[in-house]
Symmetry: C2
Subunit: 303 residues, 2 copies
C-alpha cells in the first residue's frame, strides 16, 4: 500500500462536541458513561466548546441488544438518510440524529466521540475514518499521552460513509475490549472515561492554539480486508478462531501461521503473502456480518 | 450450614442420555457441539446406553439471543408445563421438550447434560441441583480426572424445579467460561467436548459396574444467596463489580473485601459476617435477573 497523503481538511475552532453511547445497545460502557455525564454535567462544562451527550439507540439499550431492526451504526449513508421509504426503527433514528446534529442541522457538531466496546482484544483503540492532519495529530497526541492506545484507520473500508460518527466534520470511534456484550467492567469503564477527558483536553488545547506534540510520529493500523470464517455450502461456520490467534489483535500474523481450527480439530493456516496485523478477531457482532477478523497493515507515519 | 445428607435416590442402569445445547441461543459452544455430534453420530455410539442430542431453542439460536419470549431454562416447573394458558414461544417449547424426553414421555431420559457458557470466570463447572450419591460420585470422579473442574451445588436455589435438565432423573449443567455471548472460543469448545466424553465414559463404567473412585472426597460450592448490584430508586445500577473481584469466581471473599465500584469511583465493601466464595460474578444475562453474583459456601465432603 502506498503512503497516504493527509488531506487538507481542517478546522478553525471546535465549537460543538457530541459524546455518544449506546449506538449499539449492548455495549454497556458507552451507555453508562453517557448516563454518568448526564447525571454530572459539570464534568463536561469547563471547556471553550459545548459538549452534548447522546444515548443513540434507547430501544436497543432497553433491550440490551445491539439493535432492534438493523445496525444503527451502518445506517448513516446520505442516500439512506434522504430515502423516505426507509422507516424501520433504526432508519427513523438515524434521520432524527442527523436532523439533531448532522451537517445540515441547525446545530452541526464538529467532533463526535462514539463510545463502543468489543469482544476482541482491542485494548484502547481510536478508530479514524480519515487521515487528515487534524485527525492524525489528535491520534499522535493520544499515543504520546498513553502509548498503549492503538489507532486503527478504516480509510479503505468505507466507514466514513455509514457510521454515526460520519455526521460530524471529525468523527472518532473509541473501541475498547475485550468485554462481553451486555457486561460492564470497571477497568474499561474508567479507562474509557479517562480517554474521553484526554481528548477533550486536547480539543481545548487546539482551540487555545496550545497544542504541542512531543514528536510527530504515529503508528497506525490500516484496514486491508475482512476475512470470513470458513463456511459450508449452507453458510454454517466450519471453524473457530485458532487458539494461537484468539485475543492476539494487533500482533503480527505471518504467512503459514495458524488462523482457524475446525470443529474436527484441523488447523487452517494463513496463506497470504505478507505479514498482516489482524484486529476485531472474534467480535461477537461480526459473525452475522461474515467477518472473523479484519486484516490491517501496520504503518509508522509522520503527522 | 449443616452437612447435607446425600439422598438415597439411585439408578440401576443408564439407558437414555440427552446432550443438550442451545438452551440459551447465544451460548455458542453448546450450539456448535450439538451440531458436531449431529454431523458425527459415531462419536456417541460406542456406549451401552443411547445418546440423543437436542438443540433446545432453535429460534433463539437463529437469532443469536438468549431467548425469544422468556428464559427457556426457567420454564420447566411442572405447574407451568401443565398450564394450558401459557403459550409464548418458550412455554410451547418447554412443553414439547417435556413430551419428548420428560418423565411422563414415552422415552424418559435418565441423564441430561445441558451445555452452557457464561461471561463469568467459571472455568469448567459442573452444576448439580441435588446431592444424591449418584450425582456426587460422578462429580467426585470428574474432579479426580481433572482437578480444575469445579462443582457448584444449587441444592438451595430451586434450580431442580425450573431448569431443562430437571426433566431427567439426573440432570447436570456444564457451565464454562469466561466467554462472551455469541462467541466461540476453540479452547473452551474442546474442553467442553472432552468433559462430555469423560462423563459418558463414567456412565459406561457405571453401567458395567466398573466405577472405581481413587478417593471419595469432593469439593463442592453450595449456593447461599444471590447479590444484586446497588441500584437507585428507578432500578438503575449504580455500581460495577469491583476490579479486584472481577473474574475471581470461586476465590474467597472476606468480610471487608472490595465488592463493587460506583460510577463515581467509590468502593463498596462486602459486609457479610463470613467468608464466602462468589460465582457467576458479572454474568451478562443476570443483570436483568438482578444478580451481580451468587455467594457460595465451600465444603469438602465425602461421597
Amino acid at each position: 500500500m502506498r503512503w497516504q497523503k493527509a488531506s487538507t481538511k481542517c478546522m478553525n475552532t471546535v465549537k460543538q462536541v457530541a459524546i455518544v453511547g449506546g449506538t449499539h445497545g449492548n455495549e454497556m460502557i458507552g451507555v453508562e458513561l453517557v448516563k454518568k455525564f448526564s447525571l454530572h454535567p459539570d464534568l463536561l462544562q469547563q471547556y471553550s466548546f459545548s459538549v452534548q451527550t447522546l444515548l443513540a439507540n434507547p430501544q436497543a439499550v432497553a433491550a440490551r441488544t445491539r439493535y432492534v431492526d438493523r445496525d444503527l451504526n451502518r445506517s448513516f449513508e446520505r442516500d439512506r438518510l434522504q430515502n423516505q421509504t426507509l422507516t424501520r426503527y433504526e432508519d427513523r433514528l438515524a434521520k432524527q440524529i442527523d436532523q439533531m446534529l448532522g451537517p445540515y442541522s441547525d446545530a452541526p457538531v464538529d467532533v463526535i466521540l462514539d463510545m463502543h466496546s468489543t469482544t476482541s482484544n482491542l485494548g484502547l483503540t481510536l478508530i479514524i475514518d480519515e487521515e487528515n492532519q487534524f485527525t492524525l495529530q489528535l491520534a499522535s497526541y493520544l499515543q504520546q499521552i498513553n502509548s498503549s492506545i492503538k489507532v486503527y484507520s478504516t480509510i479503505h473500508s468505507g466507514r466514513r460513509q455509514d457510521a454515526l460518527r460520519s455526521l460530524a466534520k471529525f468523527g472518532f470511534c473509541l473501541e475498547v475490549g475485550p468485554i462481553a456484550q451486555g457486561v460492564l467492567t470497571a477497568d474499561l469503564f474508567q479507562k474509557t472515561e479517562a480517554l474521553i477527558y484526554t481528548i477533550l483536553d486536547y480539543l481545548e488545547q487546539y482551540n487555545r492554539n496550545q497544542v504541542s506534540l512531543l514528536n510527530r510520529s504515529l503508528t497506525v493500523y490500516r484496514y486491508l480486508e475482512a476475512i470470513d470464517y470458513p463456511r459450508d455450502e449452507h453458510g454454517e461456520i466450519q471453524a473457530m478462531i485458532h487458539p494461537q490467534l484468539q485475543f492476539r489483535d494487533y500482533e503480527a500474523l505471518h504467512p503459514g501461521d495458524s488462523m482457524f481450527l475446525t470443529f474436527e480439530g484441523e488447523t487452517i493456516y494463513y496463506n497470504g503473502a505478507a505479514v498482516v496485523y489482524p484486529v476485531f478477531i472474534n467480535e461477537a457482532a461480526y459473525y452475522e456480518k461474515g467477518i472473523a477478523m479484519c486484516l490491517t497493515q501496520k504503518e509508522n507515519i509522520i503527522v
